[in-house]
């Protein structure tokens, strides 16, 4: 199984996500191992982004109509290297395969014992939850 498949399986059968779609490295250029799109069983928490002009907006406004609880997961191995530029490229890469730039992605980090930890990476600044 590839790293991306391991993460996808973890999402479907451990965390009970549905409608999983995988985009290998060859189509999602700039990602280290491809990218996974899916829907979590319960909508993950919403955040409010802070723009440089001072307005705040909800994080889902960019998504096309329909499923607003859709998330993008970026499979990563613990030995991967990532620069700020890489993250920017990954967001752009998702724009090209998913037709919109998401407000956040989820980094799924795989350890060598098979455990996966998940972290949000928000595009820009967002308000911390209270």
């Amino acid at each position: 199984m590839s790293l991306m498949e391991i993460i996808a399986q973890n999402l479907v059968h451990f965390h009970l996500w549905t409608s999983i779609q995988t985009f290998p490295k060859s189509s999602a250029k700039g990602t280290p191992h491809g990218v996974v799109r899916g829907v979590p069983p319960k909508k993950l928490s919403e955040t409010t982004s802070i723009s440089s002009t001072g307005e705040t907006e909800s994080s889902t406004t960019d998504k096309p109509d329909g499923d607003t609880s859709e998330e993008w997961v970026l499979p990563l191995s613990i030995s991967d290297k990532l620069t700020v530029e890489n993250i920017e490229q990954i967001f752009e890469s998702i724009r090209s395969v998913g037709s919109y730039r998401p407000k956040r992605i989820i980094a799924g980090l795989l350890d060598d014992d098979g455990s996966v930890v998940y972290y949000f990476i928000h595009d820009g600044l967002v308000k911390p939850r209270s």
Binding site: S45, T83, A107, L109, V117, Y118, Y119, I121
Partner: protein, 221 residues
């Protein structure tokens, strides 16, 4: 303009009105570092002078809000005072001790020459980020403090730190070169979520703009 004294390579504001002004108007917080004459045996409550970080001192001078004062003896810098000539304006203030003259340089060229330390910081990755937050949303809405306690370079407050909690733990990085580090994502994501903040990585792009990403625990896994 607010006078900032350099003593031993560190930056201080000695005047209470200036301390109030930088704090209220510009959210420059610094650290009070003088002992109180009535309570000299304790270090919980401190008073004047206010010590500034290099970033704060540089930002104040860059914004034209402050200027550097030199006491050549205690500055720790080995500089010959550049006396007058062209447009350089040199003010000499007599201090009580005639041996210790304070030279105040206000012209921009002399200012920048004197602050060799500041110039180094000016190009650093960190200062770009400091400036980014200071100018964010048209300026002075954020207070930027050192963030060592929370595992980052800066702590960014949405207002005066006495009234607000910090929102961001910020790590400035070289946009193209610095590896964020997977272990840092785990650690700082966890840390910041635990204290209701966000861990922010920031890098300066080639065009001079700053790109940020905020990291937090996703709530599962």
């Amino acid at each position: 303009m607010i006078p900032i004294s350099i003593v031993n390579g560190k930056y201080f504001i000695f005047d209470i009105d200036s301390v109030k002004r930088v704090r209220n108007d510009h959210l420059i917080i610094g650290t009070l570092s003088g002992t109180l004459s009535i309570l000299p045996q304790q270090n919980i409550l401190l008073g004047l002078p206010l010590q500034l970080t290099s970033e704060e001192a540089l930002w104040l001078t860059e914004m034209g809000l402050g200027y550097l004062i030199f006491n050549l003896k205690s500055s720790g810098l080995n500089l010959e005072p550049k006396v007058a000539g062209d447009e350089t304006r040199l003010n000499t203030v007599e201090s009580s001790d005639s041996d210790r003259k304070l030279e105040i340089y206000q012209s921009e060229s002399v200012q920048s020459e004197l602050s060799a330390d500041l110039r180094k910081i000016k190009d650093s990755v960190g200062y770009q980020t400091f400036k980014f937050f200071k100018s964010f949303q048209n300026g002075s809405r954020y207070a930027v403090l050192p963030g060592m306690r929370f595992g980052g370079k800066y702590l960014v407050y949405n207002g005066d730190p006495l009234r607000y909690h910090a929102q961001f733990i910020v790590q400035p990085l070289d946009y193209k070169k610095d590896d964020i580090g997977m272990i840092n994502i785990v650690n700082n994501g966890r840390l910041s979520t635990g204290v209701k903040k966000l861990w922010v990585v920031a890098g300066e792009k080639e065009d001079g703009s700053t790109e940020c990403f905020s990291v937090e625990w996703a709530g599962f896994g």
